[in-house]
Amino acid sequence: WNEPIIFELHQPGEKGVELPPVNKEVALAVGDGISVIPEAMQRKGRLGLPEIGQARVLRHYVRLSQETLGSDFNVEIGQGTCTMKYIPKINELLIRDPKMMELHPLQNEETVQGMLEIFHKLDLCMREISGMDCFSFQPGSGTQALFAMASIVRKYHESRGEGDQRNEIITTIFSHPSQAATAAVKGYKIITLHPDEDGFPDIDKLKAAVSERTAGFVVANPEDTGIFNPRIKEFTDIVHQAGGLCFYDQANANGLLGITRAKEAGFDMCFFNLHKTFAAPHMCGGPATGALGVIAKLKEFLPAPIVEHRDGKYSLQYDLEQSIGKVRSFHGVAQTVLRAYAWIRALGAEGLKEVAKIAVLNNNYMYHKVLAIRGASAPYVKGHRLEQVRYSWEQMTKETGVTTEDVTRRMTDFGLHYWTSHHPYIVKQPFTLEPTESYSKEDLDEYIHALEQISKEAYENPEIVKSAPHNSTIHKMDEQDFLDHPDKWCITWRSYLKKTAVVEAAK
């Protein structure tokens, strides 16, 4: 398809859908309804939206959907750190139940007992998985959960009179950028630890970093490299001794379910992305849920309300003494709470552990296979990888000039993809693969084969890779200028019309 921009489909007079009509008696009683709006607040002129018949709108968007490579359609293992796994269709069917879809968040608690039960039951499951004592599902993503945790750290120290004194948060360079960014939003100075030569977080650097200014320590484990820090308990001990809180980024906990937990590693808080490890879909980038768990002493700091269960009744508890207030409106993304609960119940305790084990098996299988590809490597310690690995094409780039960006474009031609990695590229020419438990050996082999093929091309005929994609929805873009120059970027169609000569010429 070569779909136009939707404004180009405008045909004056056409209509996509009709609104429910206003009853004639109502109109008679109140008049046109809009002349009561004060002059200055009336909309003048007609909205510049396009007018398009229903069938054409539908055709436009279903075609665009076909031009989107959802995880249902490919071996989606190239989004390392993000855990793309199989999204069970049964869960998608369950969330379309009007008994869920058509609930208002402020309904009387008696009328949403089922929904509250699901929140509570998921809470119980998450406690088992993490060892934490209470969960909030209000955060709308991992980033927001990190923000909520940073807020709790601040509130906690404030409640102890150390709010001003403790103004530093320590993180590591291989943790997700949101850890640093959200803590900075809460006014913290960020101390970023770089790894030792094997890729492990460096305990000496941590010791050097902690002080009476330390508010908290936030880290992922394994980090983006897939390397698990075996001395994590020592890390949390050091931070605790310095008076800081430890919080754990478990956005991706896929290799750990039933194996090891936040509690035993000494964390005070953690969060899980229900849209990653717990098989809720990513939906092009949200809505999502960062399930936020805390130990008992931090429960009163959680964003309100949380769900309580007493005498067979579920209720919303708004009264949390030290609550940080709100991070997201109402109760969070209920659909994704339901999805995660359904997924856990489809697996049970043993199934969850199998998830972790097979994710690790799959990843180590890939790790062995990818390392055998010419020009690919995985910096740092050999082995020790759990559910993902950050690889590098550094050698290939040196030898052929083909970069990781070239490879990602070429992957498109195979109906596959990967993204490179978060900035900064500490690992040069990076790519991060995370096969999860969802893919079969045959799927992994298909993916590996594509990488092998591209490596071969890079060494034999690099131009093929550099000029990719050859077989994608669109041709190669002329990016730099149009995205980074204020005179050329166009963030909306109206802006495009203004800026392009097309409009000039038309005048």
Partner: protein, 462 residues
Amino acid sequence: MTQKVHPYIPNMVPKVQEEMLKVIGAKNIMELYSCIPDELKLKENMNIPPALTEYELRRHIEGILNKNTSTKEYLNFLGAGCWQHFIPAVCDEINQRSEFLTAYAGEPYEDHGRFHALFEYQSLVAELVDMDVVNVPTFDWGQAAATSIRMAARINGKKKVLLTKTTAPERRDIIINYGTPDLQFEFVHFDVKTGAMDLKDLKAKLTEDVAALYFENPSYLGFIEEQGPEISKLLKGNQSLMVVGVDPISLGVMAPPSHYGADIICGDLQPLGMHMNFSGGQAGFIATRDEVKFVQEFPSRLFGIVPTVKEGEYGFGDVYYDRTSFALREEGKESVGTQTALWGITAGVYLALLGPDGMYEVGQAIMQNSQYAVQRLNQIPNITGSCLNSPFFKEFVVDFNHTGLSVEELNKRLLEKKIFGGKDLSNEFPEFGQSALYCVTEVHTKEDIDHLVQSIKEVIEK
């Protein structure tokens, strides 16, 4: 084969595992966990109920959900930040498409459709607010407002922020949580008779260090703030920015805040095609003019249009990616991550379906229906349909102070009549005593409203 292979985990097949372990050179899977010290390993099994098969799961979940009573069964007049509107079937069809549902962070080539649809969403909302820049959607109105305010503060480097006291309490909490400790907040009073902002108080608080004023229009309490131009003049004179939150479904009939001086506009997309989902349908947007000083302060992704090597073909990509926290970690503008992209696509579909006439009609229908409700409520003795003496949109404050009943009691009795009454305001706005925020939209028929009025009558007369 002692353990069953789970349908979600193909490689549980023992034979396949053996082959893979051989490649790896490990004896068993637990060997791959040798990097985890024993003392960190979970000894016992997690206390989670045994696995359910798909059919059992369905019966289990549906059994639980059946304990809910939805707004399809009872008549609903709750709004207050999450609203019941008409949702075209095409919106659901599109956002349930497997491709959009399961896509994530693909690149502009293989995910061309996602970029295209979100660029269109930006462009369509831009028409609504009459601004040239709109972001990929954020979490919700509250967070969009918080971010808009932080953007404003970064733009002019000031630290004090004014909020009207009629700001929605939830959004206020989010704004303050996101704003502290960097910013200081102060509240501007309002006229209890009309809801209008107290301009005298505003002038008093509008000191030199004020980065921005935030207010909502239509407001949380439903009234229309008509002093926009005056407020704008005051702010401009002080080099403070005007941030306005807006319910986008009002913009077919109401002026967009850009027309009365807003520098940054934010709001919630939920009314534009999202089911309420117990609040899972919220999504925020932010809009500004196309000026570098604004664009560079967006923390969000902004998709831009780019020509390809083929004449006449469009591609899309991230505008000015280097400002984001993805690129710069803590040096980036706030933070970005998974937010509510699917709702952005859906809002785009909604706007494309309704078009200019539809947006006008829906705004008008809401105004007519809600005015009718107020008119009818006024006919009940001891009740004032709208206790604010000013025009309103969709929501209004009903005064029950003279009924001798608390709103809590009243709502309980309405529930027996299968009605979800308006939101109890007695805690949030004690100045209104026993009052409730009612919401009437285009989905309410005359019969629905008459039934509400009749029921309230019966309840208070009993």
